[in-house]
Symmetry: C2
Subunit: 209 residues, 2 copies
């Protein structure tokens, strides 16, 4: 039993490290390009060692999606939620997302890459991607609703503002791979600041630039 427990603990640590590599790899080649064989090669381990964690490619893809979600929650959502509720928290979600993109190029493209890749491939992977993108939109809309409720934001359609803010995030990923990333990030920041400022009952809650 002791040996088995030791193996499990070691296994869990390995699992997280392997999935970080899988997220980075899928951001490059897509989830469909992700195979146990290719992942083993990237990690310099044997393919049989990975079979202990995921019995087939689809299980690996689903686990990779969950890991990418954990990364987004830890690096974007949690830092944003540390800000005071209301407009500042809504703005922080956008700002933290831009910071995440600036830090993690080209890995940042994971969700953009896979949501486009799986748009026409029915199955459990596509279903999970739709859920995760939907969760992200719900998070944005929820923060908009809260900012309205606490009187910091004038009434606006939360779903619509969520769509607009998410559009700017998506375009940031696209544009910064084709044009000067510094200029793109500055524009993505200003676009949302200019959108939020006239909606704010107290514009000083937002940064100047």
């Amino acid at each position: 039993m002791t040996v088995t427990d030791g193996r499990l603990a070691r296994g869990e640590r390995t699992r997280a490290a392997v999935l970080d590599t899988a997220v980075a790899l899928a951001a490059e080649v897509g989830l469909d390009g992700l195979s146990l064989g290719q992942l083993a090669q990237r990690l310099g381990v044997s393919k049989s060692g990975l079979f202990a964690h995921w019995r087939d490619k689809e299980q690996l893809q689903l686990a990779t999606l969950e890991r990418a979600r954990e990364q987004f929650l830890a690096q974007v959502v949690s830092p944003a939620l540390a800000h005071p509720r209301g407009v500042r928290r809504l703005w922080a979600l956008h700002a933290c997302r831009l910071d995440f993109y600036a830090r993690s190029q080209p890995d940042c493209c994971f969700f953009v890459k896979v949501s486009f890749e799986y748009a026409d491939q029915p199955g459990p992977v596509r279903e999970r991607i739709i859920e995760l993108i939907g969760d992200q939109r719900t998070l944005y809309a929820g923060l908009v609703t809260r900012a309205i409720e606490c009187g910091e934001l004038r009434p606006v359609d939360p779903q619509l503002l969520a769509f607009e803010m998410d559009s700017v995030g998506l375009a940031t990923v696209y544009d910064s791979r084709l044009f000067d990333p510094h200029a793109v990030h500055a524009r993505a920041r200003r676009a949302v600041l200019d959108r939020l400022r006239p909606l704010c009952t107290d514009p000083t809650l937002l940064p100047e630039e």
Copy 2:
């Protein structure tokens, strides 16, 4: 000479038809997945017949890009430019683009697909994609500038508004492949109407909804 001219004329007609198929194929599999062999198979012709038009894959890719540009100009830009200059023409560019997407799913994804695909593949194809995306942004910004000049739009950063409108177009392609396309298009319409209306000196120039 007559025979040669006849061949050329037939060749040009064939060329345009072949490139329409190439655009549709690349929207599915990407420009990198586009080969003379695969295109010949899709068209039910011999590969050697296609060699007369393009001597290698890169020439085919560049010709496919030009054809996609022609389609966008004919189906989006020209109908938009038929509207009166100013705010109505600016709005028409967005509305015609949404109409084009609604008509041509999944072909609509050509530029979205290939600009993402070639973001990290240096070479003439990437350079041309960057030029074409840049041209599109310049077109938006130019229409914004003209609308300001003719007094229909309050002063605003043309590049920034161009980026915002283009972001909504991009998100429309993404979202309509994952969620209900009707709801997505309605939202993409309202997002830009809501953005333009407060900037308009005469809001009746824009449609009600």
